[in-house]
Point group: D2
Chain length 350, copies 4
C-alpha cells in the first residue's frame, strides 16, 4: 500500500501516519520527495480499512497495490479451477464447454419441462436451468412454484440425466434447494446478500454466482471470495449484463470483455448468460457465439415451450426449434474455437 502525503503535510503528520501504520503491523519505507512524501507500507492491506487512513491529517491518497481478494485470485491459485460432477461433466479449464439451458421459471405443466429438457439434452447441453424460486421486481409478478418446481426439476433430471441448476434466494432455503440442485445459483440481485453467500459457502454443492447489476470486477470477485472463504471452492462466475444508460433496445449491456479480465485475475470458471443480458431473442445467437470467442467456459440460455405464453422473460426465450438451430451452430463454433483459436489467444500477455 502506498500512502501519499499532501505537499504541505507537516513532519508531525507524516510521523503520525507512519506510527499508525506500524501499529497496524506494516513495515514502512519513507520516500521524501521534492514535492511530497510517499510512504510505502508493506504488509497485508486486507487487515485494515484504508478509508480510515485516508481521513488522517496530511494524507492525500491511499493507493492499494494488491487486489483485495485472495482465494479467488490467480496469484494464489495459478491453475484453472475445474468442477467435476458425478456424471463426469466438467466446467472450467481449457477443454470443457458447458451449456445450461431451460425456461426462466418452472411452470405448472411438468410435461412442458420434460419436453424442453429432452430437446436441451439432444442438442448437446449438459445442464437444465429453471427457476423454482423467482426474484421478481414486482410483487404482482409470478413468484415461482417453489418446492413443487424443485421436484419437477429433480424428476426431469432422473428421466434425462441432465444436471440441474436453479436459484436459491435466501439463506433459509439453502438446505432445501441443495437437496434438489446440482448447482446452486445466486442471482444478480443477491450478489451482495452476504448471509446467502456465507450459507452457500458452507455446503458442498457448486455455486453459480451471477454478477450484480452494477458490480465492479473487484466486487464480483469479493462476492466469490465470501463463498470460497467459507470452504466451498466450487464457484462459477456468470456475466449476465450490467445496467446501462439505454435500455431501449437491449435490457442490459453485455460486458463480454469481463470474461478475459476475470480469467486473468482469477482461476474460477466464467460463463455468460446472453438471454438475460440482451432481453431479446434475436440477440441471443450472435452474443452466444461472441461469448465463446471472448473465452467463456459456458453459456446459460433461455428456452421455453411457448415463449409467447411464458410467465416470465418470454421475449428473450428461444422456442424449441430456434434453440435447436442455435445449438447446431454453437457446437460448430465451440469446436472451431477449440481447434483454431484457444491456443493463439494466449500469446499476448496482460
Amino acid at each position: 500500500m502506498i500512502i501519499v502525503m499532501n505537499a504541505d503535510a507537516t513532519d508531525k503528520q507524516i510521523k503520525t501516519v507512519d506510527s499508525r501504520l506500524q501499529e497496524l503491523g506494516f513495515k514502512t519505507i519513507l520516500n521524501q520527495g521534492d514535492v511530497m512524501t510517499v510512504i510505502a507500507a508493506i504488509g497485508d492491506k486486507r487487515l485494515i480499512e484504508t478509508e480510515s487512513l485516508e481521513s488522517m491529517d496530511g494524507v492525500k491518497q491511499i493507493l492499494p497495490i494488491r487486489e483485495p481478494y485472495k482465494m479467488a485470485s490467480r496469484e494464489t491459485h495459478p491453475h484453472d479451477t475445474v468442477i467435476t460432477f458425478d456424471n463426469g461433466v466438467k466446467i472450467g479449464g481449457n477443454h470443457n464447454f458447458a451449456v445450461m439451458a431451460g425456461p426462466c421459471s418452472i411452470e405448472e405443466n411438468p410435461d412442458h419441462l420434460l419436453r424442453i429438457a429432452e430437446v436441451v439434452k439432444q442438442s448437446g447441453a449438459q445442464f437444465l436451468r429453471g427457476g423454482a424460486f423467482k426474484p421478481r421486481t414486482s410483487p404482482y409478478d409470478f413468484q415461482g412454484l417453489e418446492e413443487e418446481g424443485l421436484r419437477q426439476l429433480a424428476d426431469v433430471r432422473d428421466k434425462t440425466g441432465l444436471l440441474v441448476v436453479t436459484e436459491v434466494m435466501d439463506s433459509q432455503e439453502v438446505p432445501l434447494v441443495a437437496q434438489y440442485a446440482d448447482i446452486l445459483q445466486v442471482g444478480t440481485r443477491n450478489m451482495q446478500n452476504f448471509k446467502l453467500l456465507k450459507a452457500v459457502g458452507r455446503q458442498n454443492k457448486p455455486v453459480m454466482l451471477k454478477r450484480g447489476m452494477s458490480a465492479t470486477v473487484r466486487e464480483f470477485l469479493l462476492a466469490a471470495e465470501h463463498i470460497l472463504y467459507q470452504g466451498n471452492e466450487q464457484v462459477i462466475l456468470c456475466e449476465r449484463g450490467i445496467r446501462g444508460y439505454d435500455s431501449t433496445f437491449t435490457r442490459n449491456v453485455l460486458d463480454l470483455a469481463i470474461v478475459p479480465v476475470l480469467k486473468r485475475l482469477s482461476h474460477l470458471p466464467v460463463i455468460v448468460d446472453p438471454s438475460h443480458a440482451t432481453g431479446h431473442r434475436y440477440l441471443v445467437p450472435p452474443m452466444a457465439n461472441a461469448a465463446v470467442f471472448a473465452g467463456a467456459h459456458g453459456l446459460m440460455l433461455e428456452v421455453h415451450y411457448d415463449p409467447d405464453k411464458a410467465l416470465s422473460d418470454g421475449a428473450q426465450s428461444l422456442n424449441l426449434e430456434q434453440y435447436a438451430a442455435v445449438m447446431r451452430t454453437l457446437n460448430k463454433v465451440t469446436a472451431f474455437y477449440q481447434q483454431e483459436v484457444a491456443q493463439a489467444e494466449c500469446l499476448i500477455k496482460a
Copy 2:
C-alpha cells in the same frame, strides 16, 4: 396498456394479439391508423408480463400507462404517510424533520457509543443509527458485533431516549433485530432481496429501505411495494447515492432530484444519507443542507468518536465536534425551509 403493431402486421396477427388480450381479461379498442394499428388494452396491467406479449408476431412495442406499483403510489393513497413512534416522534408529512445519526458500525467500546449518542441527542437528532450486522464487500473486513451490537444500541436507547435504527441483512435475523430496533434498515445491497423484504413486511416495525446501487425509481418503489404488500405500511425510502462512472472524488452520485420525484409519485417519507452518498466528510454539510431544500423528510448522518480509527467508513464520518457544528447550521436551515420555502415549492405542478 398500448400495444403498437408493426406497420406490416397482418390482420391475422392483429387478431391473435387482440384475442390474447381479451383472454387475459382486458377490454380492447383497435385504432387502425394509416401507418399501423394500435390496440388500447384497458384493465389491470399488473396481471401480466408485458414482455411475453412483446414477443408475439407482429407486435412492435408495448407501452405501459400506469405505474406498476399500487400501494406505494400517491394515486391510491393521496395523503403523506406519517410514521409516529411511541415517544411522539414523527417521520413524513410537512412538519417533521428526522435526523438519524451515529457510527457506521457499533464497535467494541460501549462508552464510545454512549458518548456519540449524547452528542447526537443534544444536537437535536431523534434517532441513533449504527450497524450491528454489517454488509461488507470483503470477507476480510469487520463484519459487525451482531447481537452484542444490538444490545449496546438498546442500552443507549434506554439511557438517552433516542430511537434506534439498525440494519437487518437476512430474513432469519428479522425477529432478533426487531426485538431491539425501532426502525429496521434494509440496506442498498439488499434492496432486491425479496425474501428479506417479505420478512420485514410481515412484522410491525417501521422499515427504512435504502435505494439499490443502480435502482431505477420504479424498482425502488416496487421494492417498497413488496413490503407494503405484506401488510406493513410503515416504509421510509432512503436515497444514498447511486453508482456513477467517476468515483475519484465522490463514492457515489447523490441523486437529490429523486426526492421530489418520489414525493410526487408516492406518499412514503423520503430521507437522504449524504455520508454514504459522498464518502467524504467535507461533502456532508453542503449535501445535507441541499437535501433539505430538495424536500427530504430527514437525514442519516455518520458520526464517529474517532473517525481515523473507525472500523468502517471513517473517511465519511464526522467527529463529535464537527457533527455538532453541522447540526447547529442544519437546525437553522430546516427552520428557514419550513417558514419560507416549503409552501412556495408546491406552486408548480408536475
Copy 3:
C-alpha cells in the same frame, strides 16, 4: 404518436390537446377508456418537439411510435449500404470484412509508419488508420502532427496501396483532411458536434462516425442522420466502447450487442474498435474475434512500431509481431464465420 391523458384530465384539456395536434398537421383518433383517454396522432412526429406537448395541461405521457431518424433507418432503406472504394475494396453488406489498422497517432519518423503499413498490408488489412489531428483530454498531451501527419499517410498510401482513414476534428479542417483521406473519421468526442457532422455531410468522402462516450442507439443514428441529411450517404458506424462505472480493468465497456441492434435498425455498415474500447492489448484479440460473431462489418485495430514508446495509447497497441499473429487467427475466424454462421444467424427475427 400516442398521447396519454391523465385519469382526471377534463374534457376541455383533452380538446385543447386534440386541437393542437390537428394544428400541427396530425390526424387524431380518440380512445376514451375507463381509466383515461388516449389520443393516437397519426402523421410525422419528426415535425414537432414532443416535449412541449408533454407540458400541456392534462397530458400524462407522450409515447413515440416511429424511430426519430429516417434516412438511417432500415425501414426506408431495406438493403445494406455497401461502400465501394476506387480500388474495389468494399465495406458493408454480407461478404466484405474490413480491417483498419495502424498507430493511434502519426509520429515523427515516417519510416515507422511505412513499416507498420507494410505489415498491415501483408496481414490482409485494407485500410491504414492513424491520427494527424488528435483530440486529447489534456492540453499537455501530444496534439498530433497535423498536415505533416496527413502527408505521411498519403505518402504511405502511394507506396502500399492501402486506403487511409484519419480523424477530422473541426469543420474548418474538413477540406484539408478530405484532400488526403479516403475515409474521414469523426471521433467519439465529436459525435454530437453538429457543425462538423454537417460539414462532413456536404463533401463526398465516406465518413466513419464513432459512437459517443454515452450515446444511446437513437442519438448515434440521429448523428448519422445529420450526415446523411446533407447528402452524404456513405456513413460507417463504429462502436468503440461506452463509459462504464468500473474502469479499473477496461477503459470502457465494449457494447457488442449494439452491432446486431444497429444492423436491424439501420442499413449502414457497423465496425468495432476493440483497442480503444478495452485499453489493454491482451483484450484486443478475444474482443476482435467476438466482434466478428456479433456480426461486425469490420474492425479498427491499433498497431504501433514500439508500443512502449508510443505518444498515445501505447498500452492498447499491438506491436507488429503481435498484430501479425492476431490477423492470422482473425482471417481464419472471418472465413469460418462467413461459411458456417452468417446465414444461420438470420433465422430468428427481431
Copy 4:
C-alpha cells in the same frame, strides 16, 4: 508518480523502467519491498503518457499523484477567480450570486424575448440566456435563428441592461458570436470539441463551459484547462446533469456534489443548470434552491413566454409567472445562505 512493479519483475525489467523514467526527466527513488518494488518518479507527470509506461515489461500499475490540470487547479491559483463585467456584475467568489435566465432557443417573435427579459431583469437576474445556434440531436428539430437570434439578444441587452450568454458551436463562429455575447457558452456536446475550446480560449470574453454528458471531474477540468492554456482566464464551469441509467422521471442526474468538489479542486466559478438537468419544470425550484446550498456561484434557468409552444425544451421551462415566483423564493434563499451558512461550511476540511 508511483510505478508499481510486478511481484515477479526481474532486476533487468526494473532497471529498464528506471532508465526510461530518467530519460524522460524524472528523478527516481526505488523501494525494494518484500513483495514488490515500487519506483517513485519525481518530476512533471504532465510531460508523459503514463499509459505507455504501463505497457512496459514488469510494470503492474502507474499511480499518478498530482492532478493532471494545472492552471485550473487551486494548488497553483489559491484564490477564487472572480469575473467582473463592465457593468460591475461579478461571478465567482464569496458574495456574488449570478442568475442567467431566458428561453432555450431564441424564436421568431422579438417581442416575446423582450417580455421575458423584462421579467428576468425585474426578478433580480443579471444575465439573459438564449440560444441562437442550437445543437439538436435530430436534424429535423429547430436549429436556431443563428445571426438573427444574436441580433435579438443584443437588442434586448441594449433595452434592458442585462448581459447576454449564448452558445457557440463551432470554431468558425466564435468571432461572430463573440461580437454579440457577453459570455460564450460551450455546450455539453462540445465539452471535448478541442478546436472550439482553443478558439474560445484565444479571444477575451468569458466562457461558460458546460459539463459533458458523462464527463469525469478530471475531464471537465482538463477541458477548462484547454481554454485557460490559450490565455483566457475567465472560465465558468456549469453542472447540467449527467447521463443516468433511468431517464423515466428526470432527463439526467443532477450531480450537485460536484459543486463543492470543483470548488475544492479549482478556483473557477461553478454554476448549476437545474432546467436541463431535470427536464421537468416542477423539479426546477427544489433543485435550484438545493444548488445554492451545494455552494453554487449561480444558476441557469429556462423561462419561456409560452412553454407549451416552445420550439425546444418546453417541458422544463417555467412560464413568466412561475419564474417570478421561483425568484422571489430564491432571493430569500441566497440571502439566508450568505448570512447563515456560507461561513459555517468551511469548517470541515477535505
